[in-house]
Structure formats: structure tokens, C-alpha cells
């Protein structure tokens, strides 16, 4: 690995420290070679990432153009900046109310999804008991059921519970429909954790709860984070279930605002408005995503490494 700089004592046979200079130089060359070795990797992921940046940049820049320029000069930089697109989109997407609704519903949903799925996944993946396979299979089978089939029966159930036009109802639906997929991911992460830790913890006098909460859960945290992120992203952009279950304006989520913008296309042709709405929605999403993924991963894996 690095150069071991020995103590600074002078060596009689090498008064100018040439030996060390040579070592340092070869180390520098070694580093350069290593860097060169990485070039293919950099190129590969670099180009791919660059394309993604380009994509987002194109959407963002297009949102600042006028509609004509989006089509006539699709790939050029905007010559004038039309910030009013954002004002217009804001009023349709109703960032204030819709955003709060989305935050509430999605955060609560992700929280409850993990809350109910993590224990279940832990048991199903590590505890042998009669019926484990059956229950696992029943949960997994849910992943194969297409959601559109559930629209009408689920709506009837929700209507009977008087939860049909409410954020609570939508949250319950989101949580329940995400359980199979989340349990499936989490069983993968729980499955490979070392059982010696469990056993030694029990020997040390931990209760089963403590084993789960203090040892297993933190170790599986990359899986929890991943499941949280996937659920978050999926639910944030979800609009079909929201469309079925939400009617009144004050209960709308931000994805429904985007849906409204899309609908209006045929009579307004306001593509830049649509892009502006998308940018408005993406920005908090990205901020939340960065917060969730990087900060939390750093914090939690540090804790877990104890």
C-alpha cells in the first residue's frame, strides 16, 4: 500500500537519501499507474453518469424555455429564461399543499412499511418454524398480483371503512401493497447475517427482542436503507392509486399535480409548464434522497460497525 516512511535517521551509505527519493518516485509512479488502471472504470461510469446529468440538465433547461424553443431548438441552451413557467406550474402543482400531503403520506408509509416488514422478514428468514415456507410463499406471491386488478375491490373496502378520500386510507393502501416486495428484499439482507452473533448475544443474556433490535437490525441496515429508498422513490412518484383514492383537492399528492399538468397538455400544449412542474417535484426528491441515502448510511453503518 502506501510508502512506509522510515524514521528520518540518516543512512551513512546513502547521505543524500537517494534510496528514499527513488522509493518515493517509484511510489509516485505506482500511484500514477494505479490511476491509469482506473481509467476504464472512470470512463465507463463517468460517461454513464454524464448522460444522466445531461438528461436532468436538459429537463431543467427546457423548463426555462418558451414552448416554441423547446421544439425548434431542442438541444440548444435557452436564450431567454422564462421563470414564469415555474410560477404557472406551481399554481397547478400546488406545491405548498400537495407537497405536504406527499411528504406526510410517503414518510408515514415508508416508516410503517419498515416497521411491519422488518420483524416479519427477520422471523421468516432466520427462524425455523412450521409454516415458515407457506407464509413466505404467500407473501411473495403478492408480488405477482398486478395492482390495477385491486382498484375496484380495494376502493369498495376503503369506502366501507369511510377511508376512501383520505390520506390515512391512501397510506394504509400504500403500506399494504408494499409489504410483499419489502419483506422479500429484507429477507435477503437478514438471511446472511452471522448466527454466531445471535447465539453469543443470547449467551450473554440478551432477550430475543434485544437480539433483534440491537444486533440484527443494525447489521441489516444497508438492506433497510435500500428498502426505504426504493419504497420512498416508488411511492413518491406513484399516481394511479392516488388517483383512485383521492378526490378532493386538499388531499392531493404531488404526483397528482403532475398528472393534472399532463392532462392539460391537449388543450394548453404547455410542455415547459410540465417540465417546470417536474423540476419542482424532482428537487425536493433529490434532496430527500441525498439526505436519506448518504447521511443515514454514513451514520448508521458507522454505528453498526461497532
Amino acid at each position: 500500500m502506501g510508502i512506509d516512511i522510515k524514521d528520518n535517521k540518516m543512512n551513512i551509505n546513502d547521505p543524500n537519501n537517494n534510496q528514499e527519493k527513488i522509493t518515493r518516485r517509484s511510489a509516485r509512479i505506482g500511484k500514477l499507474l494505479k490511476w491509469l488502471k482506473h481509467i476504464p472504470s472512470y470512463l465507463f461510469v463517468g460517461f454513464w453518469s454524464l448522460f444522466t446529468v445531461f438528461v436532468f440538465g436538459w429537463i431543467a433547461l427546457s423548463s426555462l424555455k418558451a414552448n416554441r424553443a423547446v421544439f425548434k431548438e431542442a438541444w440548444k441552451l435557452p436564450t431567454e429564461l422564462h421563470f414564469e413557467n415555474f410560477v404557472k406550474a406551481w399554481s397547478v402543482v400546488n406545491l405548498g399543499d400537495y407537497f405536504m400531503n406527499s411528504v406526510i403520506v410517503v414518510f408515514a408509509s415508508v416508516f410503517f412499511i419498515l416497521l411491519v416488514s422488518a420483524p416479519a422478514a427477520y422471523i421468516l428468514s432466520r427462524v425455523k418454524f412450521k409454516g415458515n415456507n407457506l407464509i413466505s410463499t404467500i407473501f411473495t406471491a403478492g408480488m405477482g398480483i398486478p395492482f390495477p386488478l385491486l382498484f375496484i375491490p380495494l376502493f369498495v373496502i376503503m369506502a366501507n371503512l369511510k377511508l376512501s378520500d383520505s390520506l390515512v386510507g391512501l397510506t394504509i393502501v400504500y403500506v399494504s401493497l408494499s409489504i410483499p416486495f419489502t419483506i422479500f428484499i429484507l429477507t435477503g439482507f437478514f438471511g446472511s447475517l452471522p448466527s454466531e452473533l445471535e447465539e453469543s448475544a443470547i449467551i450473554d443474556g440478551c432477550t430475543d427482542y434485544q437480539v433483534f433490535f440491537r444486533i440484527m437490525l443494525p447489521l441489516a441496515s444497508p438492506g433497510l436503507i435500500t428498502a426505504a429508498i426504493f419504497n420512498f422513490i416508488g411511492l413518491w412518484n406513484e399516481y394511479q392509486l392516488a388517483l383512485i383514492f383521492i378526490n378532493t383537492d386538499k388531499n392531493r399528492t404531488i404526483s397528482l399535480g403532475l398528472y393534472a399538468l399532463q392532462n392539460a397538455m391537449q388543450y394548453t400544449g404547455d410542455w415547459v409548464g410540465l417540465f417546470a412542474g417536474i423540476v419542482i417535484i424532482i428537487v425536493p426528491t433529490i434532496i430527500l434522497y441525498i439526505f436519506l441515502s448518504e447521511k443515514m448510511i454514513a451514520g448508521i453503518t458507522m454505528g453498526a460497525a461497532k
Binding site: 416554441r68 441496515s221 392532462n263 397538455m265 451514520g299
Partner: protein
């Protein structure tokens, strides 16, 4: 670990706040039965901030001011209104009236018998017109979606299907007269092309935008209902009528002569219509929403005109026969206040109110004597002169949506985008129609 706990606390707090917020929310829409107050539930295809929605909201406010005992609760659902309504009805939601594209309602709620008949209501005196309510509509419109002898739909927006044209190009080429026949139309197109312009804009595989070429030609040749009858023929043999092959060949000619540019096969909506807006092509056959939709891209100075689909010499259809894409209200069959709903519908058909919609949304309306927006003035004229209004796709869309989607669309898309020849298209229709009916 500490951060994990902190996070859990944070999320629990969130959920508690959220639940608390929910506790304050009341259930909306409780009808107060102590007063004489009537509450009408209206489910709308518009989103709350669209111009059409704003116009309707103005209508509602004015109506409620004049009728203090009636309140209208509008739910702005967006385009999948009827589909949403289906779930809601299954869940027992009460809705008094709704709106949607007329042919969708015709094929959906109306066909299911869930509409309230308007026969008697339409005979009431109009509010500001010397005649019945039915008389306030431009010709052909009220009868268009009749079911047997009964009327269920109350259309309020009229989208005409014409060639929306950059009139500056026509002026530049020296064309001053609307082409009356197909031959004249081809001649005009040739002139435009010779002057160096691209003629027709179209989208690649957008069936609903491209099929009207074929449908119009068949109607011009054989009159309305001929195409529908072919669809209904369970042997498929009706498609062998030479009129269909002729219509296919005439459509193909537009490609062969380059009036529809070859690149069009790859155009994904809205690429085609954008070429019209940016001045790169001359005309597109589309609904009269097109000038409004392209307004922002085309600019305020764009000189719009609307050409009617030409007649075919020797054919039965007239140049004034006009395909009408209507948006329509419908009263639900189990509404408890159909009379009150119709008071509102009647109200929307006054001169002032219809004009409001035409001005706000820049669309065509179904009321007589209304001044449509400048860009679609030709639509206004066409609608007023159309003694025969035509169903979209001759009614296939309303009555046989599955056939349209699964049989007609793949075959026609393949034909229109040059994958199969006119003969092959007809052959496919003969076979597939028979197969379709056999599988029922």
C-alpha cells in the same frame, strides 16, 4: 445506534402529527336535509386549474347565486373521470352528474343504462332562445349520441375535425379557394409541395389522429354508417366492398406523393403537430383543439384556418358533413335531483355562458350563435353548416371500443405507417373481423 433511535423517534413523531392532522379533517359532502338545500355532486373530467374548469366554476357560482337553494359540489378528477367514477360507484358514492368525451360516455355509462333520459327536459323552453332547449344546439349535435329514441348526453364542447392550416403558406402559394373535392385537394397539396413546403403533418402510430383520413373518405364515398356496418358484419366480408380498398388507396396516395413526409413513421406525439406549429409543415387533420394547443408554440401571429375534408366526386357524403368530437354532461340515472341538475345544464346553454366557455377555453361550443376564438373561426362556420354531424370513427369508438383497439388499430397503424399495402390492409380487416366475432 443512537442515530437510528433518533430516526425512529422522528418518524414516530411524524406519524403522530399526521394522524392528529387527519383527525381534524371532516368528512366532506354531507347533505343537510333540514333545509330545502339541494346539494348536487358533480364529477368533472377537468383538473381544477384548467381554463375549462375555471369557466365551469364561474358557471357554478353564477348559478348558485341565482338559485340559493341549490349547491353544486364539484370534484375535479381529470381525464380518467369515467374510470374513477366506475370505482366510486362500486363503492357506493353518490354522484348526480358528470362529464367526459361524449363517445366515451356513450360506450360506457350510457351503454350500461346508468344515464338519466333527457327527452322531456330537452323540450323545456330555453332560457334565452325562442324555442326549446334542444333548439339551442347547433345542428346534428343532440342527435349524434342518441340511444334508440332516447337522449342522455348534453354536449357542451364541440371539437370539429378539419385540416388546421397555416394560411400564410396558402396565401404565399396563391391558393385562395377551399378545395371542394378530393382532386382539388390533391391539386392544392401539389401546389404547396412544388412551392417547397412540406404539406401534411401527422403522428406516426397515433390511430385516433390518422384513422379519420380513412373514415372521412369512406363517409364521403358511401355516407355515414357504412363503415360501422362493415364492422358489425360478423363474416368480415363487408370489408371486401371496393369502397374500402379505394379509401385505403387514396390514403396511401398522400404518402406516395410525399404529402405526408416519410419521417412521419417515426413521429411520436407531439412531434408531428409541432412541425405545424414551428412552420415546418402546412396543415394537419386534427380536432379544433389543435390551434389552442399549439398557441404557445406557434405564436400569436400564426394565421390559422380550418379546411373541411373535401367531398369525393360521385360519392354520397357532402363536404359539410363534419366529424364532431363532443364533450358532454350526463345526469346519473340514480340522481335524486335530476330536475335541479337540468336547471344547471340549461343554464350553461345560455348565450352568455356558452360564450364564456368559448372565450376562456378557446374551444368550440355546441350553442348556436356563439363567436368562437379567432383561430378556430372556420370551425364555427363548419359546425353551423354541418347538417350531418358524424360520430368519431363512424361510431366504432363509442360502440365497439374493443374492436377498435384490438382489431382496427394494429391493422390500420401497420397500413398507415407503410408496413402493409392497401390490399393487405383490407385482407387483414376481412380476416380479423371474422376472427373477432367468432371469438365472442
Amino acid at each position: 445506534m443512537k442515530r437510528m433511535r433518533f430516526l425512529v423517534v422522528l418518524l414516530v413523531a411524524f406519524s403522530l402529527i399526521f394522524t392528529a392532522c387527519q383527525a381534524e379533517v371532516e368528512e366532506p359532502g354531507e347533505t343537510d336535509s333540514e333545509d330545502e338545500q339541494v346539494v348536487l355532486e358533480y364529477w368533472s373530467m377537468w383538473n381544477v386549474s384548467e381554463p375549462q374548469a375555471l369557466a365551469i366554476q364561474a358557471w357554478i357560482e353564477a348559478f348558485e347565486a341565482e338559485n340559493p337553494n341549490i349547491k353544486i359540489n364539484a370534484t375535479w378528477n381529470g381525464r380518467e373521470n369515467q374510470t374513477k367514477l366506475r370505482s366510486a360507484l362500486a363503492g357506493g358514492t353518490k354522484v348526480d352528474f358528470m362529464d367526459q368525451d361524449a363517445d366515451q360516455v356513450a360506450g360506457g355509462l350510457m351503454a350500461e343504462g346508468l344515464g338519466y333520459p333527457l327527452n322531456d327536459f330537452l323540450q323545456q323552453d330555453a332560457l334565452d332562445y325562442d324555442g326549446t332547449v334542444a333548439d339551442t344546439f347547433v345542428p346534428g349535435v343532440i342527435d349524434l349520441h342518441k340511444m334508440g329514441d332516447d337522449y342522455y348526453l348534453f354536449p357542451y364542447v364541440y371539437n370539429t375535425w378539419q385540416f388546421w392550416t397555416n394560411m400564410d403558406v396558402l396565401a404565399d402559394v396563391g391558393i385562395t379557394e377551399d378545395p371542394q373535392t378530393w382532386e382539388e385537394f390533391l391539386g392544392m397539396a401539389q401546389q404547396i409541395q412544388d412551392a417547397g413546403y412540406s404539406v401534411l403533418a401527422a403522428e406516426g402510430s397515433e390511430f385516433s389522429y390518422n384513422f379519420p383520413y380513412f373514415a372521412y373518405i369512406v363517409e364521403r364515398l358511401k355516407g355515414p354508417g357504412f363503415l360501422l356496418a362493415a364492422v358489425e358484419d360478423e363474416t368480415g366480408e363487408a370489408w371486401n366492398d371496393p369502397a374500402f380498398l379505394q379509401a385505403a388507396e387514396m390514403t396511401r396516395e398522400l404518402w406516395d406523393r410525399g404529402f405526408i413526409p416519410a419521417d412521419t413513421v417515426g413521429y411520436v406525439w407531439p412531434a408531428g403537430q409541432m412541425t405545424l406549429a414551428t412552420g415546418d409543415s402546412t396543415m394537419e387533420m386534427c380536432g379544433s383543439w389543435l390551434p389552442t394547443e399549439l398557441r404557445d408554440t406557434a405564436g400569436e401571429d400564426f394565421n390559422w384556418g380550418g379546411l373541411r375534408f373535401p367531398a369525393v366526386e360521385g360519392g354520397e357524403g357532402d363536404i359539410n358533413d363534419l366529424t364532431a368530437w363532443l364533450l358532454s354532461f350526463m345526469i346519473m340515472e340514480d340522481s335524486e335531483h335530476p330536475k335541479e341538475v337540468f336547471e344547471f345544464l340549461k343554464f350553461t346553454q345560455t348565450q352568455a355562458n356558452a360564450q364564456l366557455m368559448a372565450d376562456e377555453a378557446l374551444v368550440g361550443v355546441t350553442r348556436k350563435d356563439i363567436s368562437w376564438a379567432e383561430a378556430i373561426k372556420d370551425g364555427e362556420e363548419a359546425a353551423a353548416n354541418a347538417n350531418v354531424a358524424l360520430l368519431p370513427n363512424d361510431g366504432i369508438q363509442a360502440f365497439y371500443p374493443e374492436y377498435q383497439e384490438t382489431v382496427l388499430t394494429p391493422a390500420y397503424n401497420a397500413f398507415f405507417t407503410l408496413e402493409i399495402s392497401p390490399e393487405e390492409f383490407i385482407q387483414t380487416m376481412v380476416e380479423d373481423t371474422a376472427d373477432y366475432w367468432a371469438s365472442k
